[in-house]
Amino acid sequence: MPAPDDIGILAKTIRNLHFHVPMWFTMIILLIVSFIYGLKYLASGNPSLDSLASSFIKVAMLFGAMGLATGSFWARFTWGTWWIEDAKLNGAAIGMLIYLAYYILRNSIDDDVQRGKFSAVYNLFAFPIFIVLVIIYPRMAETSLHPASGDTVAFSSLDLDNNLRKVFYLAGLGWILLGVWISTLHYRLNEINRKDEEI
């Protein structure tokens, strides 16, 4: 399954599509899961749900960090710079900071119930803002270097024979499953620690 080899400044780096892009897909999926657990926690007050929500956000941050690092490196050798003022890049960076603040908030509250409630409510507001920052705001921008933002098109327009798509969907699914699995590992560890403390 050949990939296109000569797409302007991208050259063969179009293959990064299978790595850089699924990082963000995974991050968004994990954040959606966390958002749902946050809502469920507010409804039920079950501390396991709070633990799930925070575990998924933690691993989402890992994928976000991998997305930023790979994107920055890719940009250096295609756009010629590690970072540039761009709606997509800045939106993603601010989105990451918003979730970083989630952890600062959590760590600053000692009482379990209060921490759970504050975290869930913060999560409730952070998620829509994150989606606006990484998807809606970059699309509304006038210009951008990043594909599918501002005046640029998505990679699907370059993938004329759909060969990239076949790999990309599988890769995306694989990365998402990996992210979900690591999140559950983190959750299980948290739960053991939490139950030990209860005793």
Binding site: R15, T70, I182
Partner: protein, 56 residues
């Protein structure tokens, strides 16, 4: 502007050669490094848990 005209340092030359394929390699290395870092930390936390349980 051709790729060779953009290249300035030996590092640039390295990543611009062969259709920039080493940029893809580097991206893989970054992901592998960060994933490994995270998993090693998780491993350490599990080890701490085991240790505290054995003591109790």
């Amino acid at each position: 502007m051709s790729l060779s005209a953009m290249a300035q340092t030996p590092v640039d030359d390295f990543f611009y050669q062969s259709g920039k394929i080493y940029v893809v390699v580097a991206v893989l290395v970054i992901i592998f490094a960060l994933l490994t870092f995270y998993l090693v930390r998780l491993d350490k936390k599990i080890s701490e848990l085991e240790k505290s349980r054995n003591e109790a």
